[in-house]
Symmetry: C2
Subunit: 217 residues, 2 copies
């Protein structure tokens, strides 16, 4: 459709600019409440501790809660309030980055930029935001079948993160089945298991990010 075409053209221009400025951009998608903000707050802290300059923009239909929570990491974070739109589009991100620049954070000042998408396992698959890498979170609390039910989205991602794994036992999560379902739908994806509560698995995920960024520069 016309909307996707216009979005893709802008996303391509943004990707070129991100690359020119050396900013590695990650688009993080999941269903609502999968643990994106909790995990990203830890990841932002860890990257800052490693000396990297990081920032985040986050989309929701309503509230500014998530930007406040992400900002607690010390990294600049801006909220995009989408109103009724259930996904982020490239022009929303472009406008938010202008706002970040007004706060004194130009792209050239950043090493890594996270885009936390609206909680939704469908539309975000079709909207390129100029990112270099896509993370998809599946929380152990949602069952093992989501990779099978949302084939379009999983086919667009590079990294799959099993989140909230500190309670996997409490919810009777069938980890092997989940891993098999991910492998059958997206054989090439790297899979990480994390807990934002305990920090387990976060270092390995950040190591992978740093490796991918080194290859990108």
């Amino acid at each position: 459709t016309q909307i996707l075409k216009k979005n893709d053209e802008l996303a391509r221009a943004m990707r070129a600019e991100f690359r020119a400025k050396g900013v590695y951009v990650i688009n993080v998608v999941s269903s609502p409440g999968a643990g994106k903000t909790e995990l990203l707050t830890r990841v932002l802290r860890e990257l800052r501790a490693r000396g990297l300059r990081v920032a985040a923009v986050v989309g929701d239909l309503a509230t500014e809660n998530d930007a406040d929570r992400l900002g607690a990491s010390g990294a600049p974070a801006r909220q995009i309030v989408t109103g009724t739109v259930c996904h982020l589009e490239a022009d929303m991100v472009a406008r938010s980055l202008e706002g970040l620049a007004l706060d004194g954070w130009a792209l050239g000042d950043l090493d890594v930029l996270f885009i936390e998408n609206v909680g939704n396992l469908v539309c975000p698959a079709s909207f390129d935001l100029g990112e270099e890498c896509r993370w998809l979170l599946f929380p152990c609390t949602e069952g093992e079948d989501k990779p099978l039910k949302y084939p379009t989205l999983i086919n667009t991602v590079d990294v799959v993160v099993l989140s909230k794994m500190d309670i996997a036992q409490a919810v009777g999560f069938a980890r092997t089945t989940a891993l098999e379902n991910i492998a059958s739908m997206r054989p090439g994806a790297s899979v990480f298991e994390t807990s934002a509560k305990t920090g387990a698995g976060v270092d390995a995920l950040v190591d992978d990010l740093v490796r991918r960024r080194d290859a990108f520069r």
Copy 2:
């Protein structure tokens, strides 16, 4: 838009037919993995035990898993595979009911029909399916802020169900905050707390359904 207008006209005609045939129809919405199928399987069993004739149709982008699971209750259940559409529309439900009739279950044979919608907290708000009542599930595993983040959807529902409450303590769920958020966004909603694992709260939810159905007939 034209799509919504056409959908609403069909939904109105379906509602008239449901009423004429005395079938009480409930549209169940939530994010992906909130526990709709697990809870509905228990509710279908309980309604059958009370002598009511029940059936279910369920929508997903892919797989027939949920219809199989719902069918384990003994009630007839049909799957609607939507492909890329992230919500159910009235014509999909109408076609599925024709299929149910071919299986020998005409509307006149039913007291209650459940429609388990596609896991999505946005689009289902705009698509009337001819239902009499809407249930919205918020699992305790998704945090307390979802009622604030998805104002459009919560404003269209009659009943809010806090699901998976057997693990509320394990995930540190702030029950009072969640209840306040629901009350601030949807003051008129009836709120129930259930666990599909232990059965807690299911009887009260079914009692409410039976009361609403009695008022409807």
